[in-house]
């Protein structure tokens, strides 16, 4: 067997530290090296792996390897240290081949999905940028299938990147099942697929730091989600992992204001899917004023209107999520709500039982879960209704509120439901969130994508 092949599979489209390569490095002109840190004149430098150029995060240390004072990057240190004397290894020889892989999928696309799917195909074939603005529950994954199939047929290497590990875990089996002839590489902190070459890589945006000019098609899912939205390193990683000539597809239900403006101003190519796959309108949020709810809760009482909202649904057996601004409020509210039903629980980001509780909620063993914005995305409970207490808090951005409303009415069996923002004064975010949902419904109606 040719020994170069496994090495090529590891190095193709990558920028790896020596420690990350599980082979002896043969002397081959196909192995490329780039400097880890580029030092420019006047005390400026940047990290070639993560793009950091903040001198506060580039530190010097007496290096035992090069014997000099060596600059290293603290921004991407969690992926292993890149320093002045560390080369980033890649592959400059012939790339592994990508073969056509037929799509094995029996489903059909909704009209809205079909439009978006066609646009994705077009963007991929012309190496263009495209924003797919699809409402929560539109079925974003399926509309990618055709484009990916076409990419493979044209020998293009595809990547789906997302800020969230749980999205990687959810997407991998779905895409693996519709492209059974290939081996999907699934990358997140601690996964085993690091050294595999695959025509389709599904990865967290963090893991993209190990790639360099690798992909012909880059799809970024949940592009507005934390931490991608706030971390310039991850944006750099996406850019760095793409080939110079490649397509870039963004998927989101809640693009940031700037992007929305660019869409309206014709400065950004986009396509919307304003309706869900089940052809029913998105639940529009109700605003309910409940005064200084914080004071009431501190006195050990529930705001009356929230209490009534909960009681009605406990009686009817409707599963509920109640969102609050902070963990502190969550803990204050829990005993008050448990007086109505002791099976009520709470969950937050650091909760060790987070997964279990979500599972118990799904099994309907928990009637109501109090939570922070951690559950704003990615969870589906059939028949769910949601309330936000303290919707005026700045943590509830327009995007967060749209995502929260997007938890309701997702299943075909119960495609509608109540969404209530309990507040002590309407905010711009609340108004914009509602406006976004209402206008998506309008657009869907005009385009004939919903049945009344």
């Amino acid at each position: 067997m040719n020994l170069v092949n496994p090495l090529r599979n590891v190095l193709a489209g990558k920028q790896l530290l020596r420690e990350e390569i599980p082979f002896e490095l043969v002397d081959s002109p196909s192995i490329s090296q780039r400097p880890g840190i580029v030092v420019e004149k006047k005390g400026r430098a940047y990290c070639n792996r993560c793009g950091n150029s903040d001198m506060e995060l580039l530190a010097e240390f007496p290096c035992a390897r090069c014997g000099k004072k060596c600059l290293y990057c603290r921004t991407c240190i969690m992926m292993g240290r890149v320093s002045e004397c560390t080369p980033l290894y890649g592959w400059s020889g012939e790339m592994p081949e990508i073969d056509a892989a037929p799509l094995q999928w029996k489903g059909t696309l909704s009209d809205g999905q079909q439009v978006a799917s066609d646009r994705v195909v077009e963007a991929i074939s012309h190496n263009e940028e495209l924003l797919v603005w699809a409402v929560c529950g539109a079925g974003k994954t399926e509309l990618l299938f055709k484009g990916i199939e076409m990419a493979f047929a044209n020998c293009k290497r595809v990547c789906i990147a997302t800020p969230r590990t749980d999205v990687v875990l959810e997407l991998t089996p779905r895409l693996q099942s519709v492209f059974p002839s290939i081996e999907v590489a699934s990358l997140y902190g601690g996964s085993d697929d690091r050294h595999q070459f695959s025509p389709l890589t599904i990865t967290t945006t963090h893991q993209l730091l190990r790639f360099y000019e690798a992909f012909d098609v880059m799809i970024v899912d949940e592009v507005d989600a934390f931490p991608y939205s706030v971390d310039p390193m991850l944006k750099f990683a996406v850019k760095n992992a793409r080939k110079e000539s490649s397509s870039l597809i963004y998927l989101t239900a809640t693009p940031i204001q700037k992007w929305q403006r660019e869409c309206r101003g014709g400065k950004r190519k986009f396509v919307t899917i304003p309706a869900r796959f089940h052809r029913r309108a998105l639940p529009e949020p109700e605003f309910v004023w409940c005064g200084n709810w914080g004071k009431v809760v501190k006195k050990g009482q529930l705001p009356v209107r929230l209490q009534r909202w909960v009681e009605q649904r406990l009686l009817a057996g409707t599963p509920m999520l109640v969102f609050v601004p902070t963990v502190e409020w969550m803990l204050k509210l829990l005993p008050l709500l448990q007086m109505f039903d002791n099976k009520i629980e709470s969950v937050h980001a650091e909760d060790p039982e987070r997964k279990e509780k979500v599972l118990r909620m799904r099994k309907r063993e928990i009637p109501l879960l109090i939570t922070t914005t951690i559950l704003e995305r990615g969870v589906t409970f059939p028949g769910l209704e949601v309330a936000v207490l303290g919707a005026e808090d700045p943590i509830f951005t327009e995007a967060a509120l749209v995502q929260i409303a997007g938890r309701v009415g997702r299943s075909v069996i119960k495609p509608s439901g109540n969404v209530t923002y309990f507040h002590n004064g309407k905010t711009e975010s609340m108004v914009k969130a509602k406006h976004q949902i209402v206008s998506m419904n309008k657009e869907a109606k005009v385009k004939g994508l919903i049945d009344e």
């Binding site: 420690e19 506060e56 995060l57 530190a59 240390f61 007496p62 290096c63 035992a64 390897r65 060596c70 290293y72 603290r74 240190i77 969690m78 292993g80 240290r81 320093s83």
Partner: protein
């Protein structure tokens, strides 16, 4: 000023404590500092293991059971005077040290160095000796984590020991560590005869690394050997 560990801005609250006692730079933010638990209260007189939360049967008077076992051994009796540890090796400190030594974030040594400077004032000694790394391991890590904290404390270190390459300590069981042959070798660059030596390392786990190093120094005539380890 940003926190050396998490990068958050440090907001200094002016209070009596920092007006009266702050002579060092503040390097960690409140959130991170809160998660570091100093070793206080009743501890084992020999190794600084806190007695709080330790079952009675593991305490024998002033010593913990581990130390009793070391001292019962004729070969190890009296080799180490005492080990001083500063912080409990809890999950947070494990993360900090792992980023420092395994990911190689050298900057964190500034904090450890600061702390070393603080405690070393109370000790009388002739040499500070960092626990060495083998050549292979030193190349791999790029720096010696024990030496770095002495350097960052602005103190002198005497590299009187060398180390043979072996499996990582952290990958061995207690039995493997204690029963293993001594990996340390004396290098004759300084005379330790009759001297008071303080060994420096980042973590004290079973104590066998420190004990083996102390053994070599004792065999070469050191008068006394104690140790400072950041975490216990």
């Amino acid at each position: 000023m940003k926190c050396l560990y998490c990068g958050e801005m440090i907001i200094l609250a002016i209070g009596w404590t920092n007006l009266l006692s702050r002579e060092d730079e503040v390097l960690l933010c409140d959130q991170c500092t809160k998660q570091l638990v100093p070793i206080e209260g009743e501890v084992c007189a020999r190794c600084s293991r806190p007695f709080e939360g330790l079952a009675e049967e593991f305490q024998k008077g002033e010593l913990c059971y581990d130390c009793v076992r070391w001292e019962e051994h004729a070969e190890w009796n009296g080799v180490l005077e005492r080990n001083i540890s500063l912080y409990i090796y809890n999950d947070f400190l494990k993360e900090v040290i792992s980023r420092y030594k395994f990911r190689g974030d050298y900057e964190i040594s500034k904090f450890f160095g600061n702390e070393l400077k603080r405690v070393i004032k109370n000790l009388e000694y002739d040499f500070l000796v960092p626990i060495p790394l083998s050549e292979t391991r030193l190349y791999e890590r790029g720096f010696n984590q024990a030496e770095a904290l002495i350097v960052e404390a602005g103190l002198n270190h005497a590299n009187v020991l060398n180390r043979n390459h072996s499996k990582k300590q952290s990958k061995k069981t207690r039995k493997e560590r204690i029963g293993s042959d001594n990996v340390f070798i004396f290098s004759n660059i300084e005379q330790v005869l009759g001297k008071k030596v303080v060994l420096v390392d980042d973590v004290y786990t079973t104590g066998s690394t420190i004990m083996h190093a102390a053994r070599v120094l004792k065999d070469h005539g050191a008068y006394s050997i104690s140790s400072i380890t950041f975490a216990r």
